[in-house]
C-alpha cells in the first residue's frame, strides 16, 4: 500500500479521536512495548522475510522447527501430574493417558524438592503438592504398567537427578535399552530456581553446576533421545519477569550452559541438539506468540553465530510451555478455564512442542480429578475442533505480530548484551541483578492491578458477591502417607547394607573427584537402594547447603 494513503488514514484517525477518544491513554504489551492503532505494510518496509522468517524447518526457524509442525503431529500434551503417593500418581497418570495425554510430566512432593526422605520430616507436609518419592521402589510403583519406551517422560527433577537415575535403573531391569528412553530432565536448570523460586536449591551453586555438567555428559553419551537440560524461563516469568525479560534471561542462561559444556570438553554439535526450553505463557496473547517466534530466531542465531554450531539440529529451539498459574484467580474459579484455554492457544500459535494447561482450581489446591480432566480436554478441543493446528505458523506475515516479534527480539538482545557485560548469567544471578529486575517488574505489575490500571476479571472488575461454590478439594489420604513412610523405613532395613554403604562411599569419592562422572555414581547408589535423602545429604556434605540470595 502507498505510504501516502496510510498517512492520510492515520490523519483521519487522529481527528476522529477528538470526538471519540481511545479507551486508554497508552496501549502497551505486558513488557511495556507501545502498541499503535494499526500495523500496515509500512511497518515491515525493510523486512526481509527470507532472512528473518525462512520457512518451517529452515534457518532461522521463526516459523517453526519442523517441516510439517502440527499437520504431522499434534504437540505433546504434557500436563503436570503429582499428588500424594506413588500409588495415587499411578492411577491419575493412567487416567490422563487414557484421555489424551501423551507425555508424562511428573511432579514430586515438596520434601523431594528439598532433598528429604518422607520418614525424616513432619508428615503433615507430605503428598500435598506432589508425589512422595524417596527411592527406586517408589518410582517403580509410580510407573507400574506405564511403558517407559513408548511415552515421553518429563521428570521435574533436580540435581542430583534421582528420578532420572531411577528410570535408567528401571529400564535396564526391564530390558529396555536406555538409548530408547525419551523425555526431559525438566528442571535441571538450577539458575532459574536460584533466581526465581529457590525451592530445589540443595547445594551451593558450584555443586549444582558440577552435577548438571556430569548429567549432560552422561546423557549425551548414552541417551540420544533424552533432553538432559531444559532451560527454564517459566520460573522467571511466574516470579514476575515480563515476557521480554523472561526471554532474554532464558537465552542468557542457555548461553552460559553452552559455554560451560564446551569448557567441560564436549563438542557443541554433540550436546546442543538435546537442549530444550521451558516457557511461561501470560495472558498477553500476541506478545507471547511474538516471544516464542523471536526465541527461535534468536537461539538459532546464537548457536550459529556465537558458538559456530554446524549441525542444524543444534540451532533448533524446542520448547515446552505452561499456562500461567499466577494469573488465575481464587474468585470465580471457573473463569480460569477460559484463561488457561487462551494461554494454551498462545503456545500453539507460537509453535510449542509440548504444553501444560493449568487446572482451574490451581489457585486453591492441587488439581482434582475433575479439574485436571477439563485441562486435558481443553487441549483436545483446541487440537481437534478449532482448526488452529491445521496450518503452520498462522500468525506469520501479520503486520502486527511480525512487528512485535521484531521489537521483542530487539529488546531481548539489549538485555542479553547487558548480562554479557556483567560476565554472563551465572555472575548476574550471583550478584542479584536478575532478581532485582524481576522484583521491580513484579511490584510494578502489582501496583497496576491494585490501581485498577490492569483488569483482572473477578478481582478488580466485574466482581460478584455470590462466588460459585468452591469445587471439590482433593484430600490427602493419611493411610497412603503412612504406607510411604513405612516403605522407606523398611527399604533401609531390608536392603543389602554393605552394598548401600559402598555406594554412598563411592558417591562421596565421585563428588570429590572432578575426573569422575558424578551422575554415574548417583545411578549406582539408586540401584543399591540408597534413598534420595541419603544421596542429597552426602552431596551436601561435600558441596555445602545451598541458600537463596536475599536481595
Amino acid at each position: 500500500m502507498r505510504k501516502g494513503k496510510i498517512d492520510k488514514w492515520m490523519e483521519g484517525y487522529r481527528e476522529s479521536l477528538e470526538k471519540r477518544p481511545e479507551r486508554k491513554k497508552v496501549f502497551t504489551t505486558r513488557s511495556g512495548i507501545p502498541i499503535k492503532p494499526i500495523y500496515t505494510s509500512e511497518d515491515l518496509n525493510d523486512f526481509d522475510d527470507e532472512k528473518k522468517l525462512g520457512l518451517p524447518s529452515e534457518y532461522p526457524y521463526t516459523r517453526g522447527i519442523y517441516p510439517s509442525m502440527y499437520r504431522g503431529r499434534i504437540w505433546t500434551k504434557r500436563l503436570l501430574v503429582g499428588l500424594q503417593s506413588p500409588e495415587t500418581f499411578n492411577i491419575r497418570q493412567k487416567d490422563m493417558l487414557r484421555t489424551g495425554q501423551n507425555g508424562i510430566n511428573f511432579v514430586p512432593c515438596n520434601s523431594y524438592f528439598r532433598g528429604y526422605d518422607s520418614d525424616t520430616v513432619d508428615k503433615v507436609l507430605l503428598g500435598r503438592c506432589g508425589t512422595t518419592v524417596d527411592s527406586l521402589k517408589d518410582m517403580e510403583i509410580a510407573f507400574d504398567g506405564i511403558p517407559l519406551d513408548k511415552v515421553s517422560l518429563a521428570m521435574n527433577d533436580f540435581g542430583p537427578y534421582m528420578m532420572v537415575a531411577s528410570l535408567i535403573a528401571m529400564a535396564e531391569e526391564g530390558g529396555i535399552p536406555i538409548s530408547r528412553l525419551q523425555g526431559t530432565t525438566n528442571q535441571s536448570d538450577f539458575i532459574s530456581h536460584y533466581i526465581s523460586c529457590n525451592q530445589p536449591i540443595r547445594f551451593e551453586l558450584d555443586g549444582h553446576l558440577r552435577i548438571l555438567t556430569d548429567h549432560v555428559k552422561y546423557c549425551t553419551e548414552h541417551m540420544p533421545k533424552w533432553h538432559p537440560i531444559s532451560v527454564v524461563g517459566q520460573h522467571m516469568q511466574q516470579a514476575g519477569a515480563n515476557p521480554v525479560q523472561a526471554l532474554a534471561f532464558t537465552l542468557s542462561t542457555g548461553i552460559f550452559y553452552v559455554d560451560t559444556f564446551i569448557k567441560a570438553g564436549l563438542d557443541v554439535d554433540d550436546f546442543a541438539p538435546r537442549f530444550s526450553f521451558f516457557f511461561d505463557i501470560s495472558g498477553d496473547l500476541f506478545e507471547e506468540v511474538a516471544k516464542f517466534r523471536a526465541a527461535r530466531r534468536m537461539w538459532a542465531s546464537i548457536m550459529r553465530n556465537r558458538f559456530g554450531a554446524k549441525n542444524p539440529q543444534s540451532c533448533l529451539l524446542k520448547f515446552h510451555a505452561q499456562t500461567s498459574g499466577t494469573e488465575l484467580t481464587q474468585q470465580q474459579p471457573l473463569n480460569n478455564i477460559v484463561r488457561s484455554s487462551l494461554h494454551t492457544l498462545s503456545a500453539i500459535l507460537g509453535g510449542a512442542q509440548s504444553i501444560h494447561t493449568d487446572a482451574f482450581d490451581e489457585p486453591l489446591w492441587i488439581p482434582s480429578e475433575k479439574s485436571q480432566r477439563v485441562a486435558i480436554m481443553t487441549q483436545n478441543i483446541i487440537a481437534e475442533e478449532t482448526g488452529v493446528a491445521d496450518v503452520i505458523d498462522p500468525m506469520g506475515g501479520s503486520y502486527f505480530v511480525e512487528s512485535l516479534t521484531n521489537e521483542v527480539e530487539k529488546r531481548a538482545w539489549d538485555y542479553i548484551n547487558t548480562i554479557d557485560k556483567k560476565g554472563g548469567m551465572f555472575e548476574a544471578a550471583k550478584e542479584g541483578f536478575v532478581q532485582r529486575e524481576i522484583a521491580d517488574s513484579s511490584f510494578g505489575y502489582q501496583k497496576e492491578v491494585d490501581g485498577g490500571n490492569r483488569t483482572v476479571v473477578g478481582l478488580n472488575k466485574y466482581t460478584v458477591e455470590d462466588q460459585e461454590e468452591a469445587p471439590e478439594q482433593l484430600k490427602v489420604d493419611k493411610e497412603l502417607i503412612e504406607r510411604q513412610i513405612n516403605r522407606t523405613k523398611s527399604l533401609r532395613e531390608k536392603r543389602n547394607q554393605k552394598k548401600a554403604d559402598n555406594a554412598m562411599k563411592d558417591l562421596r569419592n565421585a563428588a570429590l573427584d572432578p575426573g569422575r562422572n558424578l551422575f554415574e555414581a548417583v545411578i549406582d547408589a539408586v540401584k543399591a537402594d540408597v534413598t534420595h535423602g541419603e544421596i542429597v545429604r552426602k552431596l551436601r556434605d561435600v558441596y555445602g547447603f545451598g541458600r537463596p540470595l536475599l536481595t
Partner: protein, 131 residues
Amino acid sequence: MQNIRVLLTKIGFDGHDRGVKIVASALRDAGMEVIYTGPWQTAEEVTEIALQEDVDVIGISTLGYDHVLIPGLMKLCKEKNITDTLMIVGGIIPPDEVPALKAAGVAEIFPPGTRMDSIVEFVRKNLKREV
C-alpha cells in the same frame, strides 16, 4: 514515633517468594521496617528472630501447604511469651482450612489477589501493642 517492625518469613519446604517480596516492598513503602528471613525457617528460628528483633508483626507467606505448620508455630510463640505480636498469613490456604488457623491465633489471612494497601491498613489498625 517508632516505625512498625515486621518480620516476614516462610516456614516449611516452599521457596516461592514473589508474593512475600511484593508485601515487603509495600510495607516498606508505607514506612515500616521489614525483616525478611528467606524460606525454609523452622518455628524455633522464627520465634528466635522475632524476640531478637522485637517485632510488632509476624507475617508468614505460604504457597505450598506449609500453613499446616502454623498452629505449631503459634504454640511455640505462646510458650516463648510472644503474645503482643500481630500474626498474619498470606498465600494459598484452602478455604475450609482457614478456621483452624484463625482458631490458632492468626489475625488475618490474605489470599492471592489481595490489595497491598489493605494489608498496610490491617497492620496499622490491628497492632497488639503501642508503637
